[in-house]
């Protein structure tokens, strides 16, 4: 029979063990510090002010990226105040009939939807050597959503573009600190008149959030994210490409390949437009430890204005490649999910993924270095330990 003294020992022991185990648990599982960015979940904080958030690759397991997991790119501060009731969009320049539209006016126009993979031109900049200045994005300044809103073409037809109208300029309501140039860029009239270029007011069924350009943004599908100007307030039809920092020297690529590290004059460069062919491995996670047997390798692949033709993986350093299965969900400007099941014995593995597109472009071993670190698309790689 248990004595009173033994009983007290047992109770104390239980309490101590319980409290120690509980302390140990909370110590072992002490939360990794995070930053509260309302509405943006589990994203990599490249910068809080201004807001630049990268989507971790493990989230790339759905065709459409949930909005709270959709990467955020800002060049400067988001507009402080945005009142949907007083917001206006003007269309002027080389047009016969300048227009001013309210959000209610836009809502009355026929809405068109485009599933688009939006990628920042600088996605992967952090991998270039020598390093180049700018947000050091790694893999996740890319996401996919269904964007909806009236076609830009409809508005331009209504405004009646003159024959002299060759480029279409977008100005957003970004708040510019110091003497930083305004974020203004232009696209050629042909792309502006494409039936899939939108004035988007919605993203995957809901009005745009502030981080994504509420109340309206341009959506230039298949092109670098910078073409899709957020918080859009002015559209101007021009007779030539807009002259400004974000057209030149910003967002330009060398006409000829250059030696990594070399400076290039803006006149020897051209504007970045469509996205490269590229695939990413979403799982297994780089550095993970996995049991031997069947391992699902999966990810995403996109090619801007082209279609993804195939995605292959290699586990022997690129000597041989195995085809993967592309997902059923597809749209002209959207990425494809892909998957492949491997059978792995214990050991160290390096898994490579490589996409090829309908234009014959193939993801290269090494991305083409350029002074601003744009369009990085080298073959993706993860290393895993099977044991």
């Amino acid at each position: 029979m248990t004595s009173r003294r033994d009983f007290l020992w047992q109770i104390s022991a239980m309490a101590l063990v319980a409290s120690s185990v509980s302390s140990l648990r909370s110590w072992a599982q002490a939360p990794t510090p995070t930053i509260d960015v309302p509405g943006e979940d589990g994203l990599i904080v490249r910068s809080f002010r201004f807001v630049d958030l990268e989507t971790p690759v493990e989230y790339f397991n759905t065709w459409l990226t949930p909005v709270p997991r959709f990467f955020v790119r800002n060049h400067m501060h988001e507009p402080n105040e945005l009142d949907a009731a007083t917001w206006r969009l003007t269309i002027a320049g080389e047009v016969e009939k300048p227009l001013t539209l309210s959000l209610t006016d836009l809502a009355k126009l026929e809405s068109h939807s485009v599933v688009n993979t939006l990628e920042c031109a600088g996605n992967g900049r952090g991998f270039y050597r020598p390093q180049v200045p700018g947000i050091q994005w790694q893999k996740g300044a890319v996401s996919t959503a269904r964007f909806s809103g009236p076609r830009l073409r409809g508005l331009l037809e209504h405004a009646d573009v003159k024959a002299s109208g060759k480029h279409v300029m977008f100005r957003g309501l970004d708040e510019v600190p110091g003497r930083v140039p305004l974020f203004i860029r232009s696209i050629p009239i042909e792309k502006a008149l494409d039936s899939d270029t939108l004035i988007a007011t919605h993203m995957t069924g809901a009005p745009l959030t502030k981080h994504h350009g509420f109340p309206a943004r341009a959506l230039v599908p298949g092109w670098i994210g910078a073409a899709s100007c957020k918080w859009l307030t002015e559209i101007k039809v021009l007779d030539s490409e807009f002259v400004g920092n974000f057209m030149s020297p910003g967002y330009r690529l060398p006409n000829q390949p250059v030696k990594p590290g070399d400076a290039v004059k803006p006149e020897d460069m051209h504007p970045v437009t469509g996205l490269n062919v590229k695939s990413l491995i979403a799982g297994p996670a780089d550095g993970s430890r996995i049991k031997p047997g069947r391992i699902l390798v999966h990810g995403v692949a996109w090619a801007g204005e082209a279609d993804v033709a195939k995605v292959e993986i290699s586990t022997d350093g690129g000597t041989s490649w195995k085809p993967t299965t592309l997902g059923q969900e597809r749209a002209r400007y959207a990425w494809r999910l892909w998957r492949h099941e491997l059978t792995a014995k214990p050991g160290e593995y390096s898994i490579l993924s490589r996409a090829t597109d309908s234009q014959g472009r193939v993801q290269p071993d090494t991305a083409v270095w350029n002074p601003s670190g744009y369009l990085y698309n080298a073959i993706d790689q993860v290393k895993i330990h099977v044991a």
Binding site: V21, W27, P33, T34, I35, D36, I44, F50, Q131, P177
Partner: protein
Amino acid sequence: MWRKENMWRQPPSAVRTGRTQRSVIWLAIAIGVGIAICPARSVGQSGVSKLTENLPAGTMQQKATTACTECHEARIILQQRLSKAAWTKEVDKMIKWGAVVDANDHDALVDYLSTNFGVDEPAYQPLRSAITATKKNPSK
């Protein structure tokens, strides 16, 4: 990891019984003392970190903070790994864009940035944003 999790979830009575109780108590006391003397973490119990970062210590810390973080936070600098030539170009661009840097401080500022954020420095480790919106319904 999940196996350990399951073990911790067992009721205390199932962890140890019988004659090993006293050694368990001493072990528990030792663990408790060990935890108590561990250095405090730099973040609060909630794990929420501060929104913006600071620039590193140095004679130019204050002047760099004034010149740069007027427009953007320090993280944008902390993640760069650039040569002295590239830092010079960046500083000159930022002065053109409104950063207030006394001409006498220009070279010291470039030195400060290229010393702390040179090409050979280890990579900056970014934090993540907290998960709140998709916790209940990940499809949203």
